[in-house]
C-alpha cells in the first residue's frame, strides 16, 4: 500500500504519460534527490530549479501560457510567502484578460506541523490560499485521495494549489491505488530510488489507472448522528480517531474530510450539520482569519436556526511560529486530546 509520497510520485508519472504534464520542477525536485520527501523520484520530466521561489511560480505561469503543463513544487509552504503576489496574479489572469488566457498549472507544497519542523517547516497555508480567488485548492489526507486528486489537478485548466500534509507523508491508507501492488515492499522495490548511486536506476511503474476523484467533493469518513466534524490534512485522522474513541462513550460523530478547500463541498457539510445540529471545524492554521472561520460564518449565516449548539473552531494558536521543542509544538496546534476534548464539549452543550 502506497504512502502519500509514493502516491504523489505515481500520480505525476501517470500525468506525465497520460495527462500532458510537461514539467515537474522545483528545488531539488530532479535527480538525484527527487524531492525533499522523495515525491518526484524517477519522473521523466522532473528537474532542479534555481533556489528562487518567485522564479519557480513565474516559470510555471510562463510554461502554462505557452501551452505546457507544469507541476511546480515549493519545497516547504513556509517558503511560498514571497510569491503571494504571483499567486494572486496567476489567479486573476483569466479574469483580468476577460477570459482570453488561462493558466493550467499545479503548485504543490508540503504543509503543516507534525515532524518537529520548528518555525520554518511547520507552516500551514490553507488560510492564505483560500483567500486568493481564481485557484482551486486541494488538501488530501490519504494516499488514494492524493493520487486521485493530483490527477484531477493535472486535468484542470485553472491553477490548482495542492497542499500535502507533511506529517502524513509516510502514512499509508487502507484503499489501494488502482494498479499498485498490495504489498508495501513490492511497491517500494519498484519505485523507490535506491541508496547510493542512482544514475543507472529507473523506476518500474505499476500499470496505473485513474480513480476519477473530482475536485470539489468531500468524503464522508464516518457517518454519525450527533455531531459533525469537518477537517482536512493532518488533523483529519485525529478527528477520525477521536470519533472512534467517542463512539465507545456513546457519542456518535460524523466526520467529513473536506479534501478540496475551494470550491468546497458545501452541500455535504450543510446536509451533515442539518442532520446533527452541531459542528466542529478543525484545522491547524493559526486561528485568526482562518478558513475554518469562513466555514463557520457560512454555517451561521445559512443554518443558524438549525443549530443546537454554537459551532466551534479548533485551530492553531495565534503565535508567530511553532517552536521546536515537543511541548511547544504540542501546545501550538491541535493534538489528539484537543480534538477529543472539543468534540466532547460540543456534544454536551444544552440547546
Amino acid at each position: 500500500m502506497a504512502n502519500i509520497a509514493q502516491a504523489v510520485r505515481m500520480a505525476l508519472h501517470f500525468a506525465e504519460e497520460n495527462l500532458g504534464v510537461t514539467d515537474v520542477f522545483g528545488e531539488d525536485v530532479g535527480p538525484p534527490l527527487g524531492g525533499a520527501f522523495t515525491c518526484t523520484q524517477g519522473l521523466k520530466t522532473s528537474w532542479n530549479s534555481p533556489l528562487d521561489e518567485r522564479g519557480i511560480i513565474g516559470m510555471a505561469m510562463g510554461i502554462a501560457m505557452a501551452g505546457g503543463k507544469p507541476v511546480a513544487e515549493i519545497q516547504f509552504c513556509d517558503y511560498i510567502y514571497n510569491t503571494i503576489d504571483l499567486l494572486k496574479l496567476a489567479g486573476n489572469t483569466h479574469w483580468s484578460s476577460n477570459g482570453q488566457w488561462n493558466l493550467p498549472m499545479v503548485v504543490m507544497t508540503p504543509v503543516g506541523s507534525g515532524i518537529r519542523g520548528s518555525i520554518y517547516h511547520s507552516h500551514s497555508f490553507d488560510a492564505s490560499a483560500t483567500h486568493i480567488p481564481g485557484w482551486k485548492i486541494v488538501m488530501p489526507s490519504t494516499p488514494l485521495d492524493t493520487y486521485g486528486l493530483l490527477l484531477a489537478a493535472c486535468k484542470e485548466t485553472n491553477p490548482v494549489m495542492f497542499l500535502i500534509p507533511k506529517a502524513l507523508m509516510r502514512s499509508r491508507g487502507v484503499e489501494l491505488i488502482p494498479g499498485e501492488p498490495a504489498e508495501d515492499k513490492a511497491l517500494s522495490k519498484m519505485i523507490d530510488a535506491p541508496l547510493g548511486d542512482r544514475s543507472k536506476w529507473a523506476p518500474q511503474w505499476p500499470e496505473l489507472s485513474d480513480p476519477m476523484i473530482p475536485i470539489g467533493k468531500a468524503k464522508l469518513v464516518r457517518a454519525g448522528s450527533q455531531l459533525t466534524v469537518v477537517s482536512y490534512g493532518r488533523t483529519l485522522p485525529l478527528c477520525a480517531q477521536a470519533a472512534e474513541t467517542l463512539a465507545a462513550e456513546g457519542i456518535d460523530a460524523e466526520v467529513i474530510d473536506l479534501r478540496t478547500l475551494w470550491p468546497y463541498d458545501w452541500d455535504a457539510v450543510k446536509a451533515s450539520i442539518e442532520k446533527t445540529g452541531r459542528v466542529l471545524f478543525v484545522n491547524e492554521d493559526t486561528e485568526v482569519t482562518n478558513f475554518g472561520e469562513h466555514l463557520m460564518r457560512r454555517t451561521v449565516e445559512e443554518l443558524f436556526f438549525k443549530l443546537l449548539a454554537p459551532p466551534k473552531l479548533l485551530a492553531g494558536k495565534f503565535v508567530p511560529g511553532i517552536g521546536l521543542a515537543d511541548p511547544l509544538e504540542a501546545a501550538s496546534v491541535p493534538q489528539q486530546h484537543d480534538v477529543e476534548h472539543a468534540m466532547r464539549t460540543l456534544a454536551v452543550v444544552a440547546p
Binding site: G58, S96, Q100, N158, E302
Partner: protein
C-alpha cells in the same frame, strides 16, 4: 462623489510641475545622416510612430475630458517601440514570439498591426474593450492570438514569467523567442534578477530578449538617486549573456540594434539584454498630470528632421499625416464614448476557465 474626485491620485497633479528637468542622455551611438534602411521602411516607421503618438494624445484627451479614470502609456518611446513591433514574429503558440509587455507598449502593438480602437475602448473601460472587457487600466493589453500576455500593473512580474514561455519555445524548436519589456526603476525588483538567473543557466540558456526602456525615472524618482549602476545592461554581464545599451530615441539605430539582438536570440537560442535610453514625454501617467514635457528629446521631431534633410518627407507631409491620425482617432473616441460599460453582474465571468460565472454564495 463627483466623477473627478474618483480619479486615481488626483492630488498629484501638482507634482508634475515640481519634477526636475531630466538630464538628456549622452549620445550612445553616433549615427551619420546616412539612412541605412529602405525608404519604405523609414516612412512606414515614421507613419506608425505618428499614429502611436496621436493615439496616446487622444487617450490623454479622453482622460482630461472625463472619459476614463486613468491614463498611462508610451508617448516618447515610439522610436524604440515601433521597430520592436515590426521585428516581432506574431502569432499564437510557441512557434511565434511571446510578448511580456509593460504599460508603455501601444506603439509596439500598432506596429504589429493592431487596431487602435482597442486602446480607446480600454481607456473608456467599456464592455467592448478587447483586452480586459472594461476591467483594466489603459495600456494594459492582452491578445492571446498574438501571444501578448496580459499586461499587469505590478512592476516587473513579467520578468519572472518570461523564462517560462521561452523554455517551451526552446523545446518546441523553430525560431520563436520571448520578449520582455519593463522600465529602469523596475530593475530594482528581484524578478529582474530572477530573469537573468533563469535565462542563463549553462547549457540551458533560454531565447529571451530582455529589454529595459530606461527613461531615467520611476514616477518622480530619478534613476541616479536610487540605483548605482551606470548601464543597466551591465547587469547581464556576470551571467555571461550578450548585452548592450542603445539609443532608443532613434528609430534607425533602434531597428538595427534590435534586429541584431533578435537574430542572435532566434538563432543562438540564448538571452540578450538590451537597455534602450528613451524619453518620457507626458510624465509618468495621468497621476502626474499627463502634460507634455518640453525638455526631453522628442523622437518623432528628431526623426522628421532627419527624413526632411534626406528629402524623404516634407514638413507639410508630416503635418498631414499627423492631422489624419488625429482626426481618425478622434472619430474612434467619439464612437467609443457611446459604448456601454460592462454590467455589474459580469464580475462573475471568467473567475474559472471552462465554468459559467456565478456567485458561489448566491445559494
Amino acid at each position: 462623489m463627483a466623477r473627478d474626485a474618483k480619479k486615481l491620485s488626483a492630488p498629484a497633479k501638482s507634482a508634475k510641475a515640481a519634477t526636475p528637468a531630466a538630464k538628456p542622455f549622452k549620445a550612445l551611438v553616433t549615427h551619420s545622416d546616412a539612412l541605412p534602411l529602405e525608404k519604405e521602411l523609414l516612412l512606414s516607421m515614421h507613419d506608425t510612430m505618428v499614429k502611436a503618438r496621436c493615439l496616446e494624445e487622444r487617450l490623454i484627451a479622453m482622460y482630461k475630458t472625463g472619459h476614463g479614470y486613468f491614463w498611462i502609456g508610451g508617448p516618447g518611446e515610439e522610436a524604440f517601440n515601433v521597430p520592436l513591433g515590426l521585428l516581432i514574429k506574431k502569432g499564437q503558440g510557441p512557434a511565434f514570439d511571446f510578448c511580456h509587455f509593460h504599460y508603455r507598449q501601444s506603439a509596439t502593438l500598432l506596429a504589429m498591426g493592431e487596431d487602435p480602437v482597442g486602446a480607446i475602448r480600454q481607456m473608456k473601460n467599456s464592455a467592448s474593450d478587447p483586452y480586459s472587457g472594461g476591467r483594466n487600466f489603459a495600456g494594459h493589453f492582452s491578445k492571446r492570438e498574438w501571444n501578448i500576455a496580459p499586461v499587469s500593473s505590478p512592476i516587473e512580474v513579467q520578468y519572472a514569467m518570461a523564462p517560462g514561455t521561452a523554455l517551451v519555445q526552446k523545446r518546441h524548436g523553430g525560431d520563436g523567442v520571448t520578449i520582455v519589456t519593463g522600465g529602469d526603476a523596475g530593475t530594482a525588483e528581484g524578478e529582474f534578477a530572477s530573469c537573468l538567473v533563469w535565462s542563463s543557466r549553462k547549457g540551458q540558456e533560454l531565447p529571451v530578449l530582455i529589454l529595459v526602456t530606461n527613461n531615467r525615472w520611476g514616477i518622480s524618482t530619478p534613476f541616479e538617486q536610487v540605483q548605482g549602476v551606470e548601464k543597466i545592461s551591465d547587469r547581464g554581464v556576470a551571467f555571461g549573456m550578450k548585452t548592450k545599451t542603445i539609443d532608443g530615441n532613434d528609430p534607425i539605430s533602434a531597428y538595427l540594434e534590435l534586429k541584431e539582438a533578435f537574430e542572435y536570440v532566434r538563432t543562438e537560442r540564448k538571452p540578450y539584454l538590451v537597455e534602450a535610453r528613451v524619453s518620457r514625454l507626458y510624465g509618468h501617467s495621468s497621476a502626474s498630470g499627463a502634460n507634455m514635457n518640453t525638455v526631453e528629446a522628442d523622437c518623432i521631431a528628431m526623426f522628421e528632421a532627419k527624413l526632411e534633410k534626406a528629402g524623404l518627407l516634407t514638413k507639410p507631409q508630416a503635418q498631414a499625416i499627423r492631422e489624419r491620425y488625429t482626426e481618425q482617432l478622434a472619430d474612434l473616441a467619439r464612437l467609443a464614448k457611446e459604448e456601454p460599460f460592462p454590467d455589474g453582474s459580469t464580475i462573475w465571468d471568467h473567475v474559472f476557465h471552462g465554468e459559467p460565472g456565478r456567485d458561489p454564495f448566491a445559494g
